[in-house]
C-alpha cells in the first residue's frame, strides 16, 4: 500500500474513532503525517488514539495531532507515560487540565532530555518509597507532583515530579531522584521546619529572595548532615553537581564551612540569613527542589492537635496498664497514685540515631511502636517533647474526631461534599483505554442490617434433602487423622509389616524397609471469601436464591472448619462503591450472621472490580495455604 492509500485508510479510522462527522475535525492532514511514519510507529500512534478516544475525543485528537512530530524524539515508554498521565489528569481534573498536559509536549525541543533519558516517578516510587522509610524519623510517603518540577515536602509526603530528567543518562537521573528524596527527608529529620520560615523571611525587603537564600543555607547545612550520615550518597550528590559544571560561588564558602559543623541547626541558618541576603543569588543544586512553607504549615496544623490528643490517650492507657502490673512490694511502701505519676521523655539525637526514652516517675518504660512513632513525629516538629504533651488524658478528654477512632457513618458521608474522606480508593481497568484508571473507585465497607426471621430455619427445612447430600459430600472431603501403615519412618513399629518382613528375610527374599506406622494429621488450611452480588438486578428470586445458597454453603463449610468470609457488593457510579459485611473471617457463624444473610437485599448497580480488589486484599491478610475467592452473582445463580 502506498503512502496515499495508507493515509486514506488512516483518515477513515480517525474519522470513525474521533467522530469527525459530528465534531468537524479535519483529520486528513494528520492522517497524512501518520501515514508517513514507519509501520511500528503508525501502529503505536493509532493504537493510542483509539484507546484515548474511548475516554475523551478531544484528548485523543490532540494526541493524534502531536504524536507524529514527537514520536521520533521521544522514548516510547515516556510517550506512553505522558499519554497515560494526561488521561489520569482528565479523570481527576477534567478536560482543560488534560489539554494543558498535552500542550506541555509542544516544548519537547527544550525538554528533549526528559523525553529520552527521563526517569518516571512510577518507576522509582517503589524503591525510593522503601528507601526513605528505611531512614530514621517520621514515616514519609512519596507522591507524584501533578504539575511543575520542584520537588518539595510538607513534612509528611515527599512530592516528586512526574519525570526527572536533568542528565543525559537515566542512571544519573535515578541518583538525582534519590538525592532529592534524601534532601527532603533531611529537611524533616534535621528540623528545617521548626521555625516559621515565611515569618523569618518577611522582614527582608524581598521575602521571596530571602526564602531562596535560606533554602541555600539549609541545603548547605543538610548536605553536610548527609555527608556524615550517608557518605556514599553524598559522594554521588557531589558527582552530580560536578557533572553540571556548577561550582559554588566563593562568597558562599565561609557560610558552607559554618553550616557544615556537626552542631549546626536551623537557628544558625536563620542567623546567617542576613549575611546570605547580601550575597549573590544562591545557585540551586540540582537535587534541592523547593521550599513550600505554606504546605508545611497546613500539614502541621492538621497534625498538631491530633498527635497531642493521641499521645495523651496512649499515655493514659500506658498508665492504666502500668497500674495493673504494679504490685506494692509491701504494705508500708504504697505506690504513687496514678494521678501524681509523671511521664517524661528524653530524646537522644546523636550520630544520626534518634532514640526517645520514655520514663514514668524516672523509671524507663518501653513504649509500644505506635507511641514511639508519635513521640518521633512530635520531636521532629518541636525538637523536644513539650511537657503538656506528656500529661495523660483524663476522663472526658477522648475526642473521637481527633483520635480518628470513630469511622464516619458511611451513609452520612455520601451526602456531604467530602464523600471521599476516609474511603478507600481502588483503580479500575478501562477496557477502551487498555489501562488502569487510578484511584477510580471510592469504596466503603458497610454492615448489612440484620433481619431476624425464620429464613434460616425455613431454608434448612426447604432443602432438607440437599443439606443432607451436601453434608455427606463435605464430610467425605473432610480429612481426618489416621495412622498410615508401612512407612519408612514413623512413630511406631508396624508389627504386621515387621512380621511379614522377617518372614521374607527367613525365606531369602529382600526385607522391606517399610516397617513403621506414622500418624497422618488432617491439616486443612484454607480461607474462602464469598463475594455476593447485591446489585439491583438480583432483586426477586435471584436474591432469595443467593441467600439460600449462602445458608447451605455456611452449613457445609462449618463442617469442614475452614475459615470463610461473606461480603456483598453494589454501588452507584464509581463514587459510591459499597462492600457489605455479612461475615468477616474472624466471626463465628452466629445468629447475628444468619440474620445478616437473611437481611441481604438487592441494592444498586453491579461493579465488581473494587470488590475483587478489596476482598483479595482482605484474603491476603489471612494466613492460609490455600485462598479462594468465590463470586455469587446473577449468572452463577441462573
Amino acid at each position: 500500500m502506498n503512502v496515499t492509500a495508507r493515509a486514506e485508510a488512516i483518515t477513515l479510522l480517525l474519522e470513525s474513532w474521533l467522530e469527525a462527522d459530528f465534531s468537524f475535525r479535519k483529520v486528513g492532514p494528520t492522517a497524512e503525517k501518520i501515514a508517513a511514519l514507519a509501520q511500528g510507529e503508525q501502529d503505536f500512534v493509532l493504537d493510542w488514539v483509539k484507546r484515548i478516544a474511548s475516554s475523551n475525543l478531544e484528548v485523543a485528537w490532540q494526541f493524534a495531532r502531536r504524536a507524529p512530530a514527537l514520536i521520533g524524539h521521544m522514548d516510547r515508554r515516556l510517550m506512553e507515560a505522558w499519554v497515560v498521565g494526561a488521561c489520569d489528569v482528565y479523570d481527576r481534573q477534567g478536560l482543560r487540565h488534560a489539554l494543558k498536559v498535552m500542550e506541555e509536549a509542544d516544548h519537547f525541543a527544550e525538554r528533549q532530555l526528559e523525553m529520552t533519558a527521563g526517569v518516571l516517578f512510577e518507576d522509582v516510587a517503589g524503591v525510593l518509597g522503601n528507601f526513605v522509610r528505611g531512614l530514621s524519623g517520621r514515616k514519609l510517603s512519596l507522591t507524584r507532583l501533578e504539575r511543575g518540577h520542584g520537588a518539595y515536602t510538607d513534612t509528611e509526603k515527599l512530592y516528586l515530579p512526574a519525570v526527572l530528567a536533568r542528565f543525559s543518562d537515566a542512571k544519573d537521573n535515578f541518583v538525582l531522584a534519590k538525592a532529592s528524596v534524601a534532601l527532603l527527608w533531611a529537611q524533616t529529620r534535621y528540623g528545617t521546619f521548626r521555625a516559621d520560615l515565611a515569618a523569618a523571611c518577611a522582614n527582608f525587603p524581598d521575602p521571596e529572595r530571602a526564602l531562596h537564600q535560606l533554602h541555600g543555607l539549609e541545603t548547605l547545612r543538610l548536605s553536610a548532615y548527609i555527608g556524615r550520615e550517608l557518605p556514599g550518597l553524598h559522594r554521588e550528590m557531589q558527582r552530580l553537581q560536578a557533572l553540571l559544571h556548577a561550582p559554588e560561588p566563593a562568597a558562599w564558602q565561609p557560610l558552607a564551612v559554618r553550616l557544615g559543623e556537626a552542631e549546626a541547626t536551623l537557628e544558625d541558618s536563620l542567623r546567617l540569613l542576613g549575611d546570605a541576603y547580601t550575597l549573590p543569588d544562591w545557585p540551586p543544586r540540582c537535587y534541592q527542589g523547593a521550599l513550600q512553607p505554606e504546605a508545611v504549615a497546613a500539614a502541621f496544623a492538621a497534625r498538631q492537635d491530633k498527635e497531642k490528643a493521641r499521645l495523651r490517650v496512649k499515655l493514659a492507657e500506658l498508665l492504666q496498664e502500668h497500674a495493673r502490673h504494679e504490685t506494692p512490694t509491701s504494705a508500708d511502701t504504697p505506690t504513687t497514685p496514678p494521678e501524681r505519676q509523671v511521664f517524661d521523655a528524653e530524646a537522644r539525637d546523636e550520630e544520626g540515631g534518634l532514640e526517645l526514652e520514655l520514663t514514668l516517675d524516672s523509671l524507663p518504660i518501653a513504649p509500644p511502636e505506635d507511641v514511639k512513632a508519635l513521640l518521633t513525629s512530635i520531636y521532629l516538629d518541636f525538637g523536644e517533647i513539650p511537657p503538656e504533651y506528656l500529661v495523660p488524658a483524663g476522663d472526658g478528654e477522648y475526642d473521637a474526631s481527633l483520635l480518628g477512632e470513630q469511622g464516619k457513618d458511611p451513609d452520612a458521608v455520601w451526602q456531604g461534599t467530602y464523600h471521599e474522606e476516609g474511603a478507600l480508593f481502588y483503580p479500575e481497568w478501562d477496557m477502551g483505554r487498555e489501562h488502569y484508571r487510578k484511584n477510580w473507585c471510592v469504596m466503603r465497607e458497610k454492615d448489612v442490617p440484620p433481619i431476624e426471621n425464620d429464613f434460616h430455619r425455613q431454608t434448612l427445612e426447604k432443602y432438607a434433602g440437599v443439606v443432607k447430600n451436601l453434608r455427606k459430600s463435605f464430610e467425605a472431603m473432610r480429612d481426618e487423622n489416621r495412622i498410615e501403615k508401612r512407612q519408612t519412618q514413623g512413630d511406631d513399629v508396624d508389627i504386621d509389616a515387621l512380621v511379614e518382613a522377617l518372614a521374607d528375610a527367613r525365606d531369602g527374599r529382600e526385607m522391606s524397609e517399610r516397617l513403621f506406622t506414622r500418624l497422618h494429621r488432617a491439616d486443612r488450611n484454607i480461607a474462602v471469601a464469598f463475594m455476593v452480588d447485591m446489585s439491583g438486578s438480583t432483586k426477586g428470586w435471584i436474591n432469595e436464591a443467593e441467600r439460600e445458597a449462602l445458608v447451605l454453603l455456611c452449613e457445609a463449610l462449618e463442617l469442614l472448619g475452614d475459615r470463610y468470609a461473606i461480603y456483598g457488593f453494589s454501588g452507584i457510579t464509581r463514587k459510591r462503591c459499597e462492600l457489605f459485611r455479612i461475615k468477616t473471617f474472624d466471626e463465628p457463624y452466629s445468629t447475628e450472621v444468619k440474620a445478616r444473610i437473611s437481611g441481604i437485599r438487592a441494592q444498586d448497580y453491579t461493579r465488581m472490580g473494587f470488590a475483587i480488589r478489596h476482598l483479595t486484599h482482605l484474603l491476603n491478610q489471612v494466613e492460609a495455604r490455600t485462598k479462594v475467592l468465590v463470586t455469587l452473582d446473577r449468572k452463577s445463580v441462573v
Partner: protein, 270 residues
C-alpha cells in the same frame, strides 16, 4: 581437624562462647536453673538466643541438646521410639529423654512450630513434677537435678494459629530478647567479624535502617547474626555494598523493589 562423632548428652562446650550480656539475663537464667524452673526465650531471629543458650551451657557446665522444631516434629521425636535392629525392636531415647536422664539443658528452638502433641510431654516436665511420661515404655522418667528445659519462640512472625498457649507459657520464666542497643551491637559485630569499629558502626546503622522497614514490606529487619555475616565478608575482602547485598538484603527479602531499596540504603551508607 577430623570430624568425630559424639553423643549429644556427652557434648560439653569447652571454650567460652562469645556472648555480650544485654541485661540481667545471665543472673535470671542461673537463678531459674538453680530453682529447677524452665525458661522461655522470646525474641526475633538472629538476636542471640541460641548463643545465649550455648553460653549458659558452658557457664553451668551442662551438656546442651538443641532441637530445632518443625511442623513434623512429634512427641516421639522428642521422647524416643522403637526401631528395628537385626530383626528385633529396640527402644532408642529421643533428645529430650537423653537430656532428662543426664541432667542436661534441652533447648527446643522455635517450639511453636512443633506439633501440638509435643506439649503433652513438655507440660509435666515444665512444672514442679519434672517428670517425662514415656507412654510407649509405660514409664515416668524423673528428671535429674541439673536438667533444664528451655524453649524459644519468636512472637513477631508466628500466626495466631501458632501462638503459644497460656497453659504452656505460664509454666516458664520468660526472658525477652531484642536486638542489642547500638553500642553493644557494634561491639558484637566488631568482635565476631573482625571489622574495625567504624565499619561495625556503619553496619549497625544499616541494620537500623532495615529494621525501620519492618511492617512496610519487610517481616523482620536485619538481625545481628546477618550483620556478623556481612562483617565477615567485608573482613574477607568483599566490598561493603556487595557484602550487604549478599549477606543481608538477599537474606531478608525476595521482593525486587525491597531488594533494590535495601541496596540503595547500603550504597548510601558506604
Amino acid at each position: 581437624m577430623d570430624a568425630h562423632s559424639l553423643a549429644p548428652e556427652e557434648h560439653f562446650i569447652q571454650t567460652e562462647p562469645y556472648y555480650e550480656p544485654v541485661g540481667n539475663e545471665i543472673a535470671i537464667f542461673e537463678a531459674a536453673w538453680r530453682h529447677k524452673l524452665p525458661v522461655l526465650l522470646k525474641g526475633p531471629t538472629g538476636c542471640g538466643k541460641t548463643r545465649f543458650m550455648e553460653y549458659m551451657a558452658w557457664r553451668l557446665k551442662r551438656p546442651l541438646i538443641t532441637v530445632s522444631c518443625h511442623d513434623d516434629l512429634t512427641a516421639s521425636d522428642l521422647v524416643g521410639r522403637y526401631l528395628v535392629k537385626g530383626g528385633e525392636t529396640t527402644w532408642v531415647d529421643g533428645p529430650l529423654t537423653r537430656a532428662v536422664r543426664v541432667g542436661g539443658i534441652c533447648y527446643l528452638d522455635e517450639v511453636v512450630e512443633a506439633r501440638k502433641d509435643t506439649m503433652v510431654v513438655i507440660h509435666p516436665l515444665a512444672d514442679d513434677r519434672r517428670t517425662l511420661p514415656m507412654e510407649k515404655l509405660g514409664q515416668l522418667l524423673e528428671a535429674a537435678d541439673d536438667f533444664c528445659l528451655a524453649i524459644s519462640y519468636n512472637p513477631g512472625y508466628q500466626s495466631v494459629l501458632k501462638d503459644l498457649k497460656q497453659s504452656t507459657r505460664q509454666r516458664f520464666v520468660a526472658l525477652e530478647f531484642d536486638y542489642p542497643a547500638a553500642e553493644v551491637e557494634r561491639k558484637i559485630v566488631a568482635t565476631e567479624s573482625g571489622v574495625d569499629a567504624g565499619l561495625a558502626e556503619r553496619l549497625v546503622k544499616f541494620a537500623q535502617m532495615t529494621r525501620n522497614l519492618k511492617g512496610s514490606g519487610l517481616d523482620e529487619g536485619a538481625s545481628t547474626r546477618l550483620l556478623v555475616h556481612a562483617g565477615k565478608l567485608i573482613a574477607g575482602g568483599i566490598d561493603p555494598v556487595t557484602a550487604c547485598r549478599s549477606a543481608v538484603a538477599q537474606a531478608v527479602t525476595d521482593d525486587a523493589d525491597m531488594l533494590a531499596a535495601i541496596q540503595e540504603l547500603s550504597s548510601s551508607l558506604f
